[in-house]
């Protein structure tokens, strides 16, 4: 269990630091690459939580597809690259106050309620097949709705991006 603690601490600090750098760096491409570090660390945490399907899709869909889409977006928009001084708005002290309040309440509540909630040492391990069973039985109607949503997004993207 000690090894698990050390690995959790290592990955969690990488994730938190990279997330912080994503919102503070002054370079858009760097923000995207820090986000990749966050997503990869989360994928590793999903493996530790024995969620193999979620970990795999995290790497395939998020790092493989969404981040490539982001980098293409940066290239296609001819976004200003390099060091940008005005990437952060002037309202940042207000945002910091809101975040501190929200963070204090949220983290106090979570620590208060779950600090001693041990993870089961002998977990029920759900394989990808179990997730598939769940999606195609209990969650069949949401699944159909989501497929219509994807179709709508596809058509919407084509309509929006077309030159006319």
């Amino acid at each position: 269990m000690v090894a698990q603690n050390i690995i959790f601490g290592f990955i969690a600090s990488i994730v938190a630091l990279s997330a912080f750098r994503t919102v503070t760096t002054r370079n858009i491409v760097h923000a995207a690459l820090y986000l990749v570090a966050v997503l990869a660390g989360l994928g590793a945490l999903y493996v530790m939580l024995t969620a193999e399907f979620v970990a795999t899709t995290q790497f395939l869909v998020y790092i493989g597809a969404v981040m490539v889409l982001f980098l293409f977006g940066i290239m296609l928009t001819r976004a200003p690259l390099g060091h940008l001084d005005d990437l952060t708005g002037k309202q940042w002290p207000v945002a910091l106050g809101v975040a501190t309040t929200l963070g204090a309440v949220l983290i106090y509540a979570l620590v208060d309620a779950f600090h001693a909630a041990e993870l089961p040492t002998d977990p029920v391990i759900y394989r990808t097949a179990d997730v598939g069973d769940s999606v195609f039985s209990t969650y069949l109607i949401p699944f159909e709705a989501v497929s219509v949503l994807l179709l709508a997004a596809l058509i919407g993207a084509v309509v929006l991006a077309r030159k006319d």
């Binding site: 919102v23 001819r78 990437l87």
Partner: protein
């Protein structure tokens, strides 16, 4: 002291808050979309941690749906941003006050 559910939940909350701050303070629409992704991932971690704690597969299934919705959101969001930036290359979110160009 072992890793408890609370540690994962606090990390998820931290990601959510960092993403929220980013959404408030950043001015580039692309970086704002990345911050939304950060928030969604914080929530996903919470779902998976509860799925592990309660031995319930619903958490992992919901993460699958969040993933699909996030992908759709990025596609449409980037489409909008690309078509806006094609006309005005150095636009920030603060300049987009009007829905009609």
């Amino acid at each position: 002291m072992d890793v408890t559910t609370g540690w994962y939940l606090v990390l998820g909350a931290l990601l959510f808050i960092i993403g929220g701050v980013g959404l408030l303070i950043r001015r580039n629409p692309l970086v704002m979309l990345m911050c939304v992704e950060l928030m969604l991932n914080g929530v996903n971690l919470t779902f998976v941690a509860f799925s592990r704690r309660l031995g319930d597969i619903a958490g992992q299934t919901v993460v699958f749906f969040v993933l699909v919705v996030a992908a759709a959101e990025v596609v449409v969001g980037l489409g909008l941003i690309v078509s806006i930036m094609r006309r005005r290359p150095d636009v920030t979110a603060d300049d987009l006050k009007l829905l009609k160009g």
